[in-house]
């Protein structure tokens, strides 16, 4: 491609500021990045885009030195470098904004900004120089930082957007020639984003090389010069923003047209039953104004990028993190899930994808792991192992669970079978509503197949089911209709033949 005429690229023809080729990284059997390429020029804002788990963050972390690649080459200013750690990255002139904020909560704004490189006089921190330096970066955002924001405010009392601004200031304060921003705008409002973009444009003019990750198409097209698309751990291509369109970028993320056809897409339930669960204007931490009706016999999918409020809504329905406002009706009756016990008694089941935290009772037997819901729903006092075994056996058989005996510890099973045990605990006494919160995370393919076969069967028997999955193929193959979440709101409903990866991505990446 020809370099854009209006930019500093003319000064350094044919030599990228930073060039990454063929890098890969695997965590055990999970390949996070199989072939990552990126050419970053000085004086450009280079956008990285790809769906959940496509390898963007891994690529950034490799550049920043916090993840060591298994293979591949990183070339900086024409010379191969080994970024052995975060300190090495700093020395090489690479500054990174981390998606997971890296601020020290009990320290002040100015201390956080200068933390990577504290000004010293002898062995002591030079407070004056520190304040002066921090003030320069705070001034960049003058007028958009919001109330109660000052250089000496501790970070823990700041709002999410203000923390994100501090993280940005901290990254800018590195004054590194290469700046990497991994989702720096997710919590910012319009005016803050505009100010940030002004700053980026100025830095670009100074010849800095900037990598920018965002899930908002409008932002990408507003600030980017070029875009590199990643899919399934591979770089699929780089193109100039001026030469492309949002639809084109989504097509690159989705892949060839053939992959649009999801194999064995289940037919939508022919005649869904009565409304089982109904939400009106439900709002809480991480979601707002969510309304929908869930019918008996229906599998309703929650889609969108990871962390857009899907889990938060499910956890609110289960009473694990109650909603702040709005109404829920269960079978037409007002329903307030104040805690999980209330929800369980009302016939709501919830399966978390975070098995280790929310699901399994480590160190205890399979029997103890499969029975707690049965105890609660039947208000049992005595636990007779033989009776319980008889009750649990059909539930475990329905999922083809492989286990040697009820008295074996849960830890002796594979991840997939552990998750089956956790799901089976809900099936001894049938719930009315089944909430699946990314239930197949980290489980093998055959366990997934067993799970979805059962879920479809339960729906056919009249159970109302919500499925949130971070794997789009899984969602498209199993959901009768899909609500796409974007920034905590339901922004699109996909039904019938609209249930394609293309539409799903289009909705997920549009401006909220």
């Amino acid at each position: 491609m020809s370099p854009p005429p209006d930019q500093a690229l003319w000064d350094i023809p044919d030599m990228a500021k930073l060039s990454i080729s063929g890098v890969s990284k695997a965590y055990g059997a999970t390949v996070a990045l199989s072939h990552g390429d990126l050419d970053l020029e000085a004086g450009e804002v280079h956008v990285l885009i790809g769906s959940n788990g496509s390898g963007k963050s891994t690529l950034c972390k490799i550049v920043a030195g916090s993840v060591k690649p298994d293979k591949g080459k990183v070339v900086l200013d024409g010379a191969p470098v080994a970024v052995s750690g975060p300190r090495a990255a700093k020395a090489l002139g690479i500054g990174i904004f981390y998606q997971e904020l890296s601020l020290a909560a009990r320290r002040t704004v100015e201390e956080n900004i200068c933390l990577p490189d504290l000004p010293m006089t002898g062995p002591f921190v030079d407070r004056k120089a520190l304040s002066a330096r921090a003030a320069r970066y705070i001034a960049l955002f003058d007028g958009v930082t919001g109330e109660d924001f000052a250089a000496n405010t501790t970070v823990d009392v700041l709002r999410a957007d203000q923390r994100q601004l501090v993280e940005i200031m901290k990254t800018l304060a590195t004054e590194a020639p290469v700046l990497i921003f991994d989702e720096p705008t997710s919590a910012l409002d319009r005016t803050q984003v505009d100010r940030f973009f002004e700053i980026l444009r100025r830095l670009k003019g100074e010849g800095r090389a900037i990598v920018f990750i965002s899930h908002r198409m409008d932002e990408i097209f507003a600030i980017g010069d070029r875009v590199t698309v990643l899919r399934d751990g591979r770089t699929v291509g780089t193109t100039r923003i001026a030469d492309t369109s949002p639809a084109e970028v989504v097509r690159m993320m989705v892949g060839e047209e053939t992959s649009l056809v999801v194999p064995a897409q289940a037919e939508a339930a022919a005649s869904p039953g009565a409304v089982a669960l109904s939400l009106r204007g439900l709002s809480g931490k991480g979601f707002s104004e969510v309304s929908f009706d869930l019918r008996q016999g229906e599998i309703l999918g929650f889609g969108g990028l990871h962390g857009q409020g899907q889990s938060a809504v499910l956890r609110a329905l289960f009473g694990a993190a109650p909603a702040a406002a709005g109404d829920i009706a269960l079978d037409g009756q007002p329903f307030v899930p104040a805690n999980p016990r209330v929800a369980i008694r009302a016939g709501i089941a919830y399966v978390s994808g975070d098995r280790g935290r929310d699901g399994i009772i480590q160190g205890r037997t399979i029997l103890e792991n499969v029975t707690p819901i049965h105890f609660l729903r039947n208000r049992l006092k005595l636990a007779s192992a033989s009776t319980l075994r008889a009750k649990a056996t059909p539930a475990l058989a329905a999922l083809n669970t492989k286990f040697a005996g009820f008295s074996h510890p849960i830890g002796s099973l594979s991840g997939g079978n552990q998750q089956k045990i956790v799901i089976a605990r809900w099936l001894i006494d049938r719930p009315q509503v089944l909430l699946l919160d990314d239930p197949t995370k980290g489980i093998d393919l055959s366990a997934k197949a067993d799970l979805f076969a059962l879920v479809r069967k339960l729906a056919q028997e009249g159970m109302a089911i919500i499925l949130y999955s971070s794997e789009d193929v899984e969602l498209l193959a199993n959901a009768d209709r899909i609500l796409v979440f974007n920034a905590g709101r339901v922004t699109r409903e996909l039904t019938g033949t609209d249930r394609t990866r293309f539409h799903l991505y289009e909705a997920a990446y549009e401006a909220a």
Binding site: R357, P372, F375, K381, A383
Partner: protein, 318 residues
Amino acid sequence: MSMLAEIAKRPLVVALVLIVLLLAAGELLSPGFASPTQIMRLLIVAALLGIVAAGQNLVILGGREGIDLSVGGVVSLSAIIAGNLMNGADSGIALAILGCVATGAFFGLLNGLGVTLLRIPPLVMTLGMLGVLQGLLVVIRQGIPSGRAAPGLSQFVTQPFLFGLPGIIWLWVAIGLLLAFLLSRTVYGYRIYAIGSNEQAARMAGVPVATIRVSLFVLSGVFAAIAGICLLGYSGSSFANVGEQYMLPSIIAVVFGGTSLAGGKGGYTGTMAGAMMLTVLTGILTTINIDESGRQMIFGATLLLLMLFYGRGQAMRA
């Protein structure tokens, strides 16, 4: 080696073997140490410790760094209250039991509420409660006499009752059976293990986590109170801080019996063996003229050694 490792995994076996070895050693050091009357005396003393350790055991099983350092204070307070309420008369026994159990439950409730509602770490909460109880004991001692055990109570603790064993041994056995049933055959027991193993998962599975945790502290207070009454019966009259000696051994007995300090794993049978073992050990130490301070040092070192032995990496989660 692998056989040794297998055996080491069974704390109950280890404890029983150690008890026999210690008895034999005691007999060698001081002939008569393992005589029937001596063994019965050891059993009575072990029962006192075992009853305190029952509550300690439950609190530790419940996890979240569960521990009850206030048991010693409750034992002392209970002994004083019992002494005053019965004051040497059998007619006062029922009232004394009622008063002591209520007192133990009350302080256990405070511990439990502090740990759940105020989210104070159990170590800090029960240590603070121990301080309160010790102060309370000083105040009480200045105001009222210590009181005497009723003859019926002393008889229950020291005289043969059934098959040549005193009532307190049978009480201990009954508590052992009760806890074994509670932990393995009731929903309550399943839930104790569940909150001790993974509190968050337990909550998501509908376990009333806070209620159960509070109940464990209440039970610990009640068991300590019962031990306090029995201790009064054993010594005839209560004296300053009689219960203090129980704090560390009650924890050692639980850990020795194979209950993980991290919670969710273990049971009371092992703890009973642990209490026996510690009592025999104390007997030997006394026989060879090691005084209280020396015994405390040895107990402390024992606990730390046990942590090394059983606890590698999982005894206390960070």
